[in-house]
């Protein structure tokens, strides 16, 4: 699936190893510095923690730059929540590698057009990308 969005699997692995994954719900990193002030104004949040607080469905946020921000409560899955939501880590790694314009909507539409069972309008939204990663990479 990585090749279908223009990425080589070895680069995904290398980037994942080089990415820092931190708790987004407590991060005081400034969004205006990580992206730009236009984006901070548009989302109405000055810090990453505020962004997570304002966006209850947000599991991860990954502006290219080497650090991906995660919601710790979404980091477990599987039986009794004992497994690690590794597919979310891979998902956020993709955003570290793709340009700003290639967001979840673009990834879902690209994969859908290339035959994957993904619907950008589904209630599962971008979690479908993580679903495909889990299915294809296991």
């Amino acid at each position: 699936m990585f090749a279908d969005i223009g990425l080589a699997v070895e680069d995904v692995a290398a980037t994942m190893n080089a990415t820092s994954f931190v708790d987004g719900t407590t991060s005081q990193a400034q969004i205006g510095m990580l992206v730009n002030q236009q984006y901070a104004n548009a989302v109405g949040a000055a810090t990453v923690a505020q962004l997570f607080a304002n966006s209850p469905g947000l599991s991860g946020w990954s502006p290219p730059g080497g650090t991906a921000y995660l919601r710790p409560s979404d980091m477990s899955n599987g039986l009794f929540g004992l497994g690690t939501n590794w597919q979310l880590l891979v998902h956020e790694t993709l955003h570290q590698m793709l340009g700003f314009q290639r967001d979840d909507n673009w990834i879902m539409t690209e994969l859908q057009n290339k035959g994957y069972r993904i619907n950008p309008n589904s209630p599962r939204k971008s979690r479908q990308i993580s679903d495909v990663i889990k299915k294809k990479c296991n």
């Binding site: 090749a3 969005i5 223009g6 990425l7 080589a8 070895e10 680069d11 290398a14 980037t15 080089a18 992206v35 730009n36 236009q38 984006y39 548009a42 989302v43 966006s55 947000l58 946020w61 990954s62 502006p63 290219p64 080497g66 955003h95 570290q96 590698m97 793709l98 340009g99 700003f100 314009q101 290639r102 967001d103 979840d104 909507n105 673009w106 539409t109 690209e110 057009n113 290339k114 971008s126």
Partner: protein, 147 residues
Amino acid sequence: MQLTIVTIIVAIASQSGLKVPTISGPIPYRLLSSQVLRPDQGRSYVVSVEKPLDPPAIKTLLCQIVAAEKPPNTRLEIGVYLGLDEFIPPLGFKPLSDKLAAHRMASYQWNTKLPNDRRRLSVAKDTDGKPLAKWEYHEFDHTKCGS
């Protein structure tokens, strides 16, 4: 990092709120964003045009952009948008993502590590500027521009 004069102008204009200038040529366009990609120092460009383009014209435009920007031969993304006034990274924010999707006309992706990709160029709008029900894919290789 190599910066072209155009890239510097884009950076200054986007920070100051100034309108990004139109770059003349066979297909006039505005370069709204230029970004270095991880981990291979590839490039991602966002450009906007004022009129819908057919696939041959899109390929001409891609060659123009490559000639002007001279990206490294690692990885390249070029998004061509119709009538996009400014580029704000969507990063999961639906209103920004929806706006970008509504203007998306074509998208080109190239990776030197994926030499057999036959679907590098996707077209999302028809020649009237209306969205296609399903993206069309075309073969294209920007390294062969001018040959």
